[in-house]
């Protein structure tokens, strides 16, 4: 008869280590906020440019 034994892997004993904690959570949030603020800025600048062109054309049209 063959005896079947199961082997349970024991968890590694926890050990103290020197830590360098950082706030990736907040940094991530700020970086994302910054990214879409920058993107919004591009949109606004683009829009302003178009409005200026439009105004210029309007002025020329009206003499």
């Amino acid at each position: 008869m063959v005896e079947i034994r199961s082997i349970v892997m024991s968890k590694k004993a926890p050990k103290w280590q020197k830590a360098n904690p950082n706030r990736t959570d907040i940094k991530d949030l700020l970086n994302k906020t910054k990214k879409f603020t920058e993107m919004y800025l591009i949109v606004l600048k683009e829009r302003k440019k178009h409005w200026e062109m439009y105004l210029e054309a309007e002025k020329e049209k009206n003499g």
Partner: protein
Amino acid sequence: MANPEWKKWTIADAGAIKDIAETAKALAEQIKTTSVLAQTAMSVVKVIAELQSANPFLKALEILADEAIKALQDMKEAGYYYLYVDPYSPVKNVAPKFKESYGFEVLRDSSGRQLFWNPNHADPESTTIPMAAVPISDRDYPDGSPKFVPKIAMPRKLIAGGWSPYTIPWTSVDPFEKLTPFPMYSARNVLETMAEAFNDEGDIARYETNQLEGPPSVNPPKDAIVFDDLGQPFSGWDPNVKEYGLQLWNMGEKTAAGAEHASEFLKNGGWKSEKIKLNKVITTGRPMSQGSTLGDGSSALVLIIAAPSYKVFVESFFAFAKLFEDIPEFMEAAYGNIMDTYNEWADPEPQVLTLTMCDSKYGLFAVGDVIKGINYGGLGKITKIESSVASSIVSTALYTITDDVGETRKRYLEKNMNEDGRYQDMVIEIKPIPTQEAKGVENWTPQDAVREQEMRGYKGTGEEKQPNYMTKGADTASMPAASGAGRGLKKSKRVYPKYGTVAMQKLTVPKEAVSPNFAGIKMGQCIPMWNEFFEYLEAQVQSVKGLTVTASKFIQDIIDVLEELIKDLEEMIATIEKFLKFFEVDLSKAGIYALHIENQQDGNDGLVSAMMGASGLPTGLGYAAGILFVGVELGGVNLLDKTLAPLIMGL
């Protein structure tokens, strides 16, 4: 002093982070809204065709806004138990200890070694020798009584780290090496406090009964069946009882009679959203305590801020507290002045002292001299001699005057006893030297004798190493005085210190306390600006929407508004960058140690045993504070292991 108490922390639910979270969410939503509004306004003047090129940006903007909102949601999901152990900041909830014993001051040689002698020898002075140099065979007489004993300074003075007859000098380390001016609470003490808190039977969850109004279905009467978080029934309810040990609800998984809910909605889980809280939490209680509705597994993350020197500890604590000031205790601790104790010791305020009867025969005090109030205390280095004038020593003498006829009269006459100016009154400025005995700067007492000091080795070790001062020539005081005269003069080997007497100490106004590490930006400082910006943004959009002027004027107005917005957004980006810099704190060199105990099934006992048994924590960390997070498994997931631990440990 409050005791360490378990509390709950959700990252995005406290203080400045909450503000950031809400503001960022508002930003994301505002930007979506303003894009739409601006498009609407533009469509009025039919320029959409010209603006098509901006559309891909709008789409990207929306995606980015969604990402930011998701990041906030992720932060809001995680919540942990935490226990804060702090012996030092104004928040302190455990008491640190001074570890030192007092004894008689022992004379020391110029290297600071304790001097021993044999007082029973015919010429005891000749036997004076550093302790380590006494041969083992010479320590005691054959009958076991001590032969060589510490050479005690005369007059005897009790000092921290002095000699006590109860100590065995031959085997003990020099007590001066162990001295520290700061109270100690070691990393081990912090861990022991944490372990005790797991078993603090008094620290349980407490819930205050709500004062509800309404029909019995929402305001259950006495003896009605009520339900816990999981919807399980409980009897014994009484609305007049002020506190219960668990969260209670008016509705559960089944009805009070144990039957299925009649409504399909309630039956299919709707009871979870429809139920009403019958009480509210006052204290969280320790994790896994009775009455808490937690899962089986639990994990922990222990963070110890610790260092062998107080200075490094304080610096590490500041850096850590700044980064985690969304935890209320760290917020309070960071801006309270934990540096005061250290500054008082490392950089004390100068003192101005008036001395009288300074005897120039033995030399007048000069800049650089260290002086001490012999009987009542005071120690410092002279940094400035403000003035030096002859002391007024006037004596009244009674004279008998005889006139020509032989009659006598008595007259009192005043005589200056300090004509040659030997004795001087001096006003000096000194940099005080804190003492071990006072754990800080000592004040001076009028009429106390002041003596010049000389350095004799050090007290303490590492960054807390301080020169040890003794009265100059104290080790020669027992030598014979000079005798004889002329050719027969036998000079003495005694060394005499400069001396004087304290007349008065000038009051000084302490300078304003400044926390040196916190001169920079604080978390939350940017928040008001953000809020104002959004209010402005909204107002501008509203005004664009409401414009009814002519086309040219309208277009010019829009350009003006856009210019303002561009300017504001650029400022906002600069602010975010400044804010990001705030979080760029490198704590790799600070004294922060972490222990992550992964999800385990042995409850609090398992956590305590893993915490106390873990290896790798350096010894000699005499100054420490710490925070312990506990996460519990819910629905097969332990968020501490999944989110907080990687964040802290940088995995």
